[in-house]
């Protein structure tokens, strides 16, 4: 699975409270998608193009483990999130809603805002087409790839039934 797009860079410890704040999470996903991350970068939801990549620092989406964060990003059009590290709830919820994510220690030093990246989501190979550099992210666990391929946990269960062994 390949993703090729420009990236939007964010810092360390961006909490779910700033990705999908309490003031927007009860207004439906169309509204959430229009306002996702605007508290950090007001232009983000307006200028985001379908498939764009987020590159973030450590502990992305800490604080409350709300599914609205990955789901809001996905519905807004984000194609992939790469971070130095994720909160475990975001890691889990992103896979469950079918949003590809990659953990890549050191990525923020090698990517600038606006760089164009070409990424193999299953192997974790990141090509920075702007700088020419190749970066290796941690390859995701097989169960996570399965969830992403099916488009999330609900479709996975629909198509494969209840897993007994994963």
């Amino acid at each position: 699975m390949m993703v090729k797009a420009r990236c939007w860079k964010f810092g360390d410890n961006i909490p779910s409270d700033l990705i999908t704040p309490i003031t927007i999470i009860f207004k439906g996903y169309e509204y959430i998608a229009q306002h996702v991350l605007e508290r950090v970068r007001p232009e983000f939801p307006k200028l985001l193009k379908k498939g764009d990549i987020i590159v973030a620092g450590k502990n992305w989406a800490c604080s409350s483990g709300r599914t609205t964060a990955p789901k809001g990003l996905k519905i807004a059009g984000v194609g992939l999130v790469i971070a130095e590290s994720f909160s475990r709830t975001f890691f889990r919820n992103a896979s469950e809603v079918g949003l590809p994510i990659l953990e890549c220690p050191g990525v923020t030093a090698k990517v600038n805002d606006g760089d164009v990246l070409e990424v193999d989501v299953t192997t974790g190979v990141i090509k920075n087409l702007t700088s020419g550099e190749t970066i290796q992210a941690t390859p995701p666990p097989p169960f996570q790839i399965e969830l992403i391929k099916h488009g999330g946990l609900l479709k996975y269960l629909e198509e494969k039934g209840l897993p007994t062994n994963v």
Partner: protein, 421 residues
């Protein structure tokens, strides 16, 4: 195996599990707060083909963020939650003003050692204080694996040990300890991991004082926190339920990814400074910032013990005229106990306002919001920008004693200045 690995092995029908392995485990209790129930019920109704919840008695719903809705949109959400629970036969619904979901869980005897507990709230990590495995999972998990199949998927976590020894000096308490530990470990110091808390300090604490450790372990990124259950835990559980339970303990030869040692015998008050929980400083290193609001409440600071500590400082004193002190007991039992002990009168006479049992200002939806530029000091578990109103407001995290002392002085104040005065 350790306690968590044994519980996950038992719940997934395996003899043994190893860190990194993904298991499908039986879930014993699902706890959902109001926000979570709203989001999960929407997924269940609109995104799945499931129509029934086969075991509604395993589900506990607590309306804890909205103790009473302030506007029509939230009233509508709550109306729909109640109707959804009724439709699916969920009897354990605790309505607004019952308290914080985790407090209701342990007070009403829903949690017992050996259980697997999942919840919509990230602080579901707290159940390791009672010999159980607890963790927060997302809306899709709840709406399918959890509610329909009574299961959850879990990657067996690696475990790190936090050993805390020593006896606390006067003027400091559990909140200072946990704030200090998170500061040293870092807010991502335990991401995906289980954190075991042990040591002479932990042993000496009451079960509910200990509860704050696994609860706050999520603020280091942990999947869960736990403490070996001792006689105090067994006694605590037996006082609240007569249902049977199974105790799991570490094997003697368990290995840890890392072990971290803390001695708290000289620890002074600790402050979690903006903008993250892990930005901990000793109070001596924090400027005496002027505050507008002080809050004693939230899952990390709404127990009767917390209010007793605050009362030690506030007894016979007045809240600064330019400070709003908000008191939010964590449950109805705690509210009643605080009333019986005269604490509510004491707080009220000091100038505080008393609010119904709830999450209070944590995820501000019906009280205590901050405007841009305002400063709050609070016992809340979190201080991330935008959780309590304006992202341009700031929140300092501290113990109930430090919050009380700061409320009196109108600026961040060391509670030891009041002790022995």
């Amino acid at each position: 195996m350790n306690m968590v690995e044994k519980i996950l092995a038992k719940a997934s029908g395996k003899k043994e599990v190893v860190p990194g392995e993904i298991v499908i485990a039986d879930v014993d209790v699902i706890v959902m707060h109001d926000f979570g129930t709203h989001l999960v019920s929407n997924v269940f109704d609109k995104e799945t083909k499931y129509t029934e919840i086969p075991n509604p008695d395993k589900v506990v719903i607590v309306i804890d963020h909205w103790f009473s809705p302030a506007a029509e949109d939230s009233a509508t959400i709550l109306r729909d939650i109640r109707a959804w629970a009724k439709k699916h036969g969920i009897k354990h619904l605790y309505d607004g003003g019952s308290g914080i979901c985790h407090y209701v869980m342990f007070e009403e005897g829903f949690v017992r050692p050996g259980m697997v507990v999942v919840g919509t709230d990230s602080h579901t990590t707290c159940y390791g204080a009672f010999g159980a495995f607890g963790t927060g999972v997302g809306n899709q998990s709840h709406a399918s694996l959890g509610l329909v199949f009574g299961k959850g998927w879990f990657r067996v976590p690696k475990t790190i040990k936090v050993q805390i020894d020593g006896e606390l000096p006067k003027g400091t308490n559990m909140r200072d300890v946990v704030q200090h530990v998170i500061g040293v470990m870092g807010e991502d110091g335990a991401v995906y991991k289980a954190v075991e808390f042990a040591g002479s300090f932990v042993d000496s604490c009451s079960v509910l004082d200990r509860f704050t450790l696994p609860l706050m372990s999520v603020e280091m990124g942990a999947k869960t926190g736990f403490i070996q259950p001792d006689d105090k835990v067994i006694e605590f559980i037996k006082q609240r339920t007569n249902k049977p339970f199974e105790l799991y303990y570490n094997d003697p030869d368990v290995e840890y990814e890392s072990v971290h040692y803390f001695d708290v015998s000289k620890l002074g008050p600790q402050i979690g400074c903006p903008p993250t929980v892990g930005n901990t400083k000793s109070i001596e290193d924090v400027p005496r910032v002027t505050i507008n609001q002080a809050v004693i409440g939230g899952c990390a600071g709404a127990k009767i013990e917390d209010f007793r500590l605050a009362a030690e400082i506030l007894r016979g004193r007045k809240v600064h005229p330019e400070v709003r002190l908000l008191i939010i007991p964590g449950s109805r039992q705690i509210y009643m106990q605080a009333a019986r002990e005269g604490l509510l009168d004491l707080f009220f006479e000091a100038g505080a306002n008393i609010f119904p049992p709830s999450c209070g200002t944590c995820q501000t939806v019906n009280m205590g919001a901050q405007a841009a530029g305002e400063v709050m000091i609070a016992t809340l578990p979190r201080n991330f920008p935008g959780r309590t109103g304006s992202p341009q407001a700031s929140v300092y995290l501290a113990s109930p004693m430090t919050v009380a002392a700061s409320a009196i002085e109108g600026r961040i104040t060391d509670p030891r200045e009041f002790l022995g005065r």
